[in-house]
């Protein structure tokens, strides 16, 4: 069973299919519906036996690199170009096939936005490298 990460982004990726304002500017009932849907996805995956993990990341990003022998690490806290990717969180799933991962990603993307209409959010689908199988 391959594992996939369904990544959600704060920014980056293809141009938004449906641009929307930040969630704190939505109608309260639309906010509720959106949050309820996220919980529903976790429940659904747990129920189908496909859930591995779900996490959300804060938007703060720091790039760090080795500073060289005896030197402090070099870091940059941004701000980074608005075009750069910023991951917001993920669902990790364990599914039968690539097709199933795509199907679930599309379902995640159908999450309700303003007016209860789907967000059409781009979901970044990434396969997790698996363990070496038993030898033949």
């Amino acid at each position: 069973m391959p594992k996939y990460l369904l990544l959600k982004h704060y920014r980056g990726g293809p141009a938004a299919h449906r641009p929307v304002p930040p969630m704190d500017q939505w109608d309260p009932q639309d906010v509720e519906a959106h949050i309820a849907f996220q919980r529903h996805v976790c429940d659904l995956l747990a129920h189908s036996g496909e859930f591995v993990d779900a996490q959300a990341l804060t938007p703060t990003q720091t790039w760090v690199r080795y500073g060289g022998p005896g030197a402090a690490p070099v870091s940059t806290d941004g701000p980074h170009p608005e075009t750069s990717d910023l991951v917001a969180g993920w669902f990790m799933i364990d599914v039968d096939s690539h097709e199933r991962a795509i199907e679930l990603a599309a379902y995640v993307s159908s999450e309700p936005g303003p007016g209860g209409e789907p967000l059409y959010e781009w979901i970044d689908v990434r396969e997790v490298m698996s363990e070496l199988p038993a030898g033949d």
Binding site: D24, P28, V31
Partner: protein
């Protein structure tokens, strides 16, 4: 029903865990190494869970001591065979006292050794004094069991050779217990409940008012825990909680413990925070909250530190809310503004500003502050709550 589950035990699991610090302290007092004794007892506990349902012991404490001792002897034999054990490594026993309460104190000083990082102090206290298994502790902190096992064994290696004949720093113990409490209430392991249990044990061993103050603080806050989240897991702020869901028995006990602590006339951070919690608990409805008295306690809390640069920002922020209620929202906002340099990057600072702006009827500013707080929140529940606050205010504003 899960067929792999063992039959219901004929013995009381809480009683078993209550024996852990007693048995362990007994072994340590006898001169056993804390590290080895703790391992041996952990094995004895697992053995107990396996054997007792079929063969309940006559004297549980003696049984655990005997099995742990046997493990220690086995371990020593194999160690001797490797001829590597150093006798000088042994933890020195504390002479004298043999009361159960002192056992807890001795072990807590040991687990909360200043050389250990807070994460290790918490894990060790939960295992050695709380009697939790490594798996339960790993679950509570959302790390793999192997990671937690390694963290515990590294912590115990650090403790090797530490003499335990001096009392440790009670302030560190209290901080660790409070940290366990604040780490929270998970579905799988109720850490807040564990912290209360440990602190209750500690108060049997010391008259120090701050230890009793901490127990009172935990009880008075925990009393509201059923009302803190709604059925869908949404945060419900204090002013909107269903107060009929507060645990009046815990409140009564908290108030009793607090009064006995305050009677010693040696105030400290935990007693004062407990007094503030008690005033919130005492209000039949949010508008009936005695804000002037809460502000007076906050003044005392802030006055504990002479140096304004070393003031606790969380206390100052709490005070700003109280100022907002007593002297008006703009006065509260001025207080909060003074903290911008110190905690202006933290979500809580923005959330308090949102609260005070709303209190002052400034909807748009409140919504903007809540939205800013949401962007900085460190938990999903808080982030969602703050987004809801912003959306609610924008919709009604």
């Amino acid at each position: 029903m899960n067929p792999t589950e063992p039959p219901a035990p004929s013995w009381d699991g809480d009683a078993l865990r209550a024996l852990v610090p007693r048995v362990l302290a007994g072994l340590v007092r006898r001169g056993e190494d804390f590290d080895a004794a703790e391992d041996a007892l952990q094995e004895a506990l697992l053995e107990a869970i396996r054997v007792w349902p079929g063969h309940p012991p006559r004297d549980a404490r003696a049984w655990l001591t005997a099995v742990a001792t046997r493990r220690l002897i086995d371990a020593r034999r194999s160690a001797a065979a490797r001829a590597r054990r150093e006798v000088t490594d042994q933890v020195q026993p504390v002479p004298g006292a043999t009361e159960d309460g002192d056992d807890t104190l001795l072990l807590l000083f040991c687990c909360c050794h200043p050389e250990l990082a807070p994460a290790s102090q918490m894990a060790l206290a939960l295992r050695a004094v709380g009697g939790l298994t490594t798996r339960e502790i790993a679950n509570a902190f959302y790390v793999p069991e192997a990671t937690m096992a390694q963290r515990i064994s590294r912590a115990k290696r650090t403790l090797r050779g530490c003499r335990l004949d001096r009392p440790g720093d009670l302030a560190v113990v209290l901080r660790v217990l409070y940290l366990i409490y604040s780490t929270g209430h998970h579905e799988r392991v109720d850490l807040a409940g564990e912290a209360i249990r440990l602190t209750r044990q500690l108060t049997l061993a010391t008259d120090e008012p701050e230890a009793h103050g901490l127990l009172a603080l935990m009880l008075l806050n925990h009393a509201r825990s059923a009302a803190r989240l709604d059925a869908d897991g949404r945060i419900v702020t204090l002013d909107r909680q269903d107060r009929s869901r507060w645990d009046t028995r815990q409140i009564a006990e908290g108030v009793r413990v607090l009064q006995s602590a305050l009677a010693a006339q040696r105030p400290g951070r935990y007693q004062i925070e407990a007094a503030i919690a008690a005033l919130h608990d005492d209000a039949a409805s949010a508008p009936e909250t005695d804000w002037p008295q809460i502000l007076a306690w906050y003044d005392d809390l802030v006055a504990l530190t002479d140096d304004p640069r070393r003031q606790d920002p969380a206390a100052m922020l709490g005070r700003a809310v109280a100022v907002g209620h007593v002297l008006g929202a703009s006065a509260g906002l001025r207080e909060a503004e003074r903290l911008r340099e110190v905690i202006g990057e933290r979500h809580r600072w923005h959330a308090v500003r949102g609260y005070l702006y709303e209190l002052g009827g400034q909807g748009p500013a409140a919504a903007a502050a809540y939205a800013e707080a949401a962007r900085r929140a460190g938990t999903v529940a808080e982030r969602d709550h703050l987004i809801r606050q912003a959306a609610r205010i924008r919709a009604t504003g």
